[in-house]
Symmetry: C2
Subunit: 285 residues, 2 copies
């Protein structure tokens, strides 16, 4: 048993990763490279981190943490790379990420209520060279964002849902209703914690709305209501085995970005426990 095939593949893959930051994974378990021998585990999605998890820390600390956790993707927040960053600063940013085996796969969440803010966000996403823009638009700016997507055929715009704490885009169904008749690249970042706190079922919502789910924020919640607070993945109310099975069922091929909002001053053990739990779920689900 001990030397089972999958463990062997995982182990050699992990070794390979240490040698090559380029060999970024296609298996969900922390971005370990998929193996032709291991098709069942060659998930299309990847574990990653939302920049906000490191709101109290500089980029280097974030990257060292992801390297330690064997996680290889980061959604870029503006406190790590400002919205007005030029090409040189952006190139240096990507080089630094690569030196830790990390790829900045998207930008955001970026708030936008005016056309200028939308223009700036789209131009930033293109300069950074990412395919996913996680946005927090006002309802009023949505038609303009829809129009912008025609100028940016490489970009998917993922509206971040915020749960019951604010009065717009609370859950996946609210976003769906707003975008279902707009550009097919206008969709959502399914924040499973906020969706749950909004009274929805993130697993069912992924099933219903997956054609417009372009990014996901992973976390766990102490309660399935507005009273819920972020806890380590596995300690809360979200059924992660069911979620991972659904991600596979619908062929989700985006990122699962840990947005760990507990202990923001010292999140490191919580981040590691959360990824450890997720890796096991991906191995077993």
């Amino acid at each position: 048993m001990a030397i089972n095939r999958r463990s062997f593949i995982k182990s050699s893959a992990a070794g390979a990763l240490m040698l090559s930051a380029g060999a970024l994974g296609t298996a969900c378990t922390a971005g370990r490279p998929a193996s032709g021998k291991d098709v069942a585990k060659a998930d299309k999605f990847h574990l990653s981190a939302a920049g906000y998890t490191f709101v109290k820390f500089d980029l280097e600390t974030a990257l060292k943490t992801l390297q330690k956790a064997d996680v290889h993707y980061l959604c870029i927040k503006d406190f790590h790379l400002p919205l007005d960053a030029g090409d040189e600063q952006i190139a240096a940013f990507h080089a630094k990420c690569a030196s830790y085996g990390v790829t900045g796969y998207g930008v955001g969440p970026i708030y936008m209520e005016t056309e200028e803010e939308a223009d700036r966000a789209f131009a930033y996403a293109r300069r950074v060279g990412v395919k996913v823009l996680v946005g927090v638009p006002s309802y009023g700016i949505l038609p303009y964002v829809d129009k912008k997507l025609e100028e940016y055929p490489e970009i998917k715009y993922a509206i971040h849902l915020h749960g019951p704490d604010i009065d717009i885009f609370q859950t996946a169904s609210v976003i769906w209703d707003k975008v279902k008749d707009l550009n097919p690249r206008l969709g959502m970042c399914l924040d499973i914690g906020h969706d749950l706190r909004g009274g929805a079922d993130p697993v069912e919502d992924l099933k219903k709305y997956h054609t417009r789910v372009f990014d996901m924020h992973f976390k766990d919640e102490s309660e399935a209501s507005k009273a819920g607070w972020c806890v380590e993945i596995g300690r809360g109310m979200i059924d992660f085995p069911a979620l991972v099975r659904m991600m596979r069922e619908v062929g989700y091929d985006g990122m699962c970005s840990l947005e760990y909002e507990k202990d923001l001053d010292d999140p490191f053990m919580g981040i590691a426990e959360s990824f450890g739990y997720l890796k096991a779920v991906c191995d077993m689900a």
Copy 2:
């Protein structure tokens, strides 16, 4: 799905634990209290830590780390509580552990080659008030240890197996052959990593020898050979789902003590990832 029964129980249990260090768990997931409604998950074993994991750190750091990981049992090493500790020092030690919701469940590993060293270890275990003494005896002292157990009816003596690095007690089968005709309370601490590195199968060995498995050291290994080194649980060669299923099959009711020997100067994220992985395995196996 999100509000599934088990998650709900886990969640409320976690809350309860924060309030009561006394409510130590019977479910394997980080010692969360078992619930009458949650019999399936009311495992007889507990997640815990081997003191050696914190060889570079003081007791307080070890306890804070376990509290953060929601783990509630510690096997006491002499660098945290010396072998000559008196009753007052021992009482203060237990009080400090209790203030973090942690119970010192055993002592060791303690090396012993002479009768004096064996006498001292047994007297220490009794003063500390634990039921498990993890020992590293020489072959020569074994008959004396066997005799000592008659004076110490409350103690189970768990010989720590060391794998291929040394020439005695390499694997579970070696220990079994040495103790099978001796006192039934003379058994082993099944170190699954060293057992694997010794060419054995820890899952099969637990099945064969469980009647004399009184403690377990948990870790993962990069290779199933002497060349293997300790890695975060889930990244290596050990099949933890099979191991947890076997622990349940044989009714293992001891501790699963993480002995994390990687990054001893900064083991915290590795500890948390390992416990996170184990919690998911216990939830899903």
